[in-house]
Symmetry: C2
Subunit: 209 residues, 2 copies
DNA sequence: TAGATTGTTAATCGATTAACAATC
DNA sequence: TAGATTGTTAATCGATTAACAATC
């Protein structure tokens, strides 16, 4: 089955998953690498190479089962399980993540939200109450947490990560604009919103030229 | 100066910019490709290649001027100018973007916010009032808009984009989980938050194995 | 000048694309 | 069976790394 999978392939997996969900919704049961490639703006060859990183899932002369492949990739991504998330930082971004219902719909459930600001502690965010970050260690000792969403200022981010790592949190979704240092075996995905805007600005300038 | 610049280089530019800002803040005036490479976890060779896409900015035997290079890259990215943004969709994400002060701090100013939901129209978001999306066309005719932030449901996204493109908006910061179709000359940066979580889930699973 | 470090060319590595035998 | 399409190997392309002459 799956040996080494390159970062390039990993980054395409969610797009495969999304397109397959769309196809399912459209009532399409079967698709060839050519057909999926047209839709995703990838070559048929690349589609076949990518999928084959995880084992042969197609049938010669037929193509791929849309629902079969969607389930398969969903399983590879781990979206067929529930992930318990806590949010650290109840600012604009922290609250937006807490209030969104697209994350729980994909199995990513927010179970707690923390802040150090007295004006925010006790505030209601959806079905949750903002807890004092001073309670965080105790909370981690008493509850299972898969993922921590870091929505704190840069100045606090690394310190918070250390507390969380020490108590066994293995996954970070980081919205603070810095590169976190984490121990071996810990995963980080950065969402550097500012950087996206900078790239957009760059591309727009280049179009002008 | 700059001929073709690969996507790989473009995606690194914001990180260069961020690290150079940090170095400036630390009072460091000069840095070699080796020094910057250590800091950014890149090879010295790659740093020199990247920077040279935009012309020779270093001095042999010395390295690079931190502030000079920061200004240079800032100019390439276009963050030395102001960008007028409107937000389409006053949900959790739209409001979070509108309320953040890190975007205006980088020259990305939100000048208006729209929604189609009667319960949201008229609502105050920071210094702005949510306008009826029915007013959008008129607004675009009367005002300059550089970037539209798409924070609407998938079902509305493509339709909104078409209205905006027709009225000359050339840049989109898209938070809806779909691939927008835009005319030649229009730039799109996607922020697919769900996909980030899926990749995080995948990486965490792989660490377990 | 001597040492350090760039800018740039050449070598390597990895990812994408093409080709095709296997087979549904 | 004949046609279609996969899985997989080989070829190509592009990005990263190494090397080194130029020069501050």
């Amino acid at each position: 089955m799956a040996g080494y999978v390159s970062e390039a392939v990993i980054k395409r997996l969610p797009a495969y998953y999304r397109h397959l969900k769309e196809l399912e919704k459209e009532g399409i049961h079967q698709i060839s690498s050519q057909g999926l490639g047209n839709r995703m703006h990838l070559t048929a060859s690349q589609i076949r190479q990518d999928i084959n990183c995880f084992g042969g899932f197609g049938r010669q002369g037929y193509g791929y089962s849309v629902s079969g492949l969607r389930e398969h990739i969903g399983h590879i991504l781990g979206v067929d399980r529930t992930h318990r998330m806590i949010i650290v930082g109840a600012g604009n971004i922290g609250r937006a993540v807490a209030l969104s219902d697209s994350f729980p719909a994909n199995g990513f459930e927010t179970v707690a939200i923390f802040d150090n600001d007295e004006t925010k502690i006790g505030m209601t965010v959806g079905s949750l109450t903002v807890q004092d970050v001073a309670e965080l260690k105790r909370y981690l000792d008493e509850n299972t947490v898969d993922i921590a969403v870091l929505a704190v200022p840069v100045s606090h981010a690394q310190r918070m990560v250390e507390v969380l790592c020490e108590r066994g949190v293995k996954g970070f979704w980081n919205f603070a604009p810095l590169d976190l240092k984490v121990p071996e075996g810990t995963s980080v995905v950065n969402v550097h919103l500012d950087e996206g805007l900078e790239i957009l600005s760059f591309r727009m300038l280049r179009e002008l030229a």
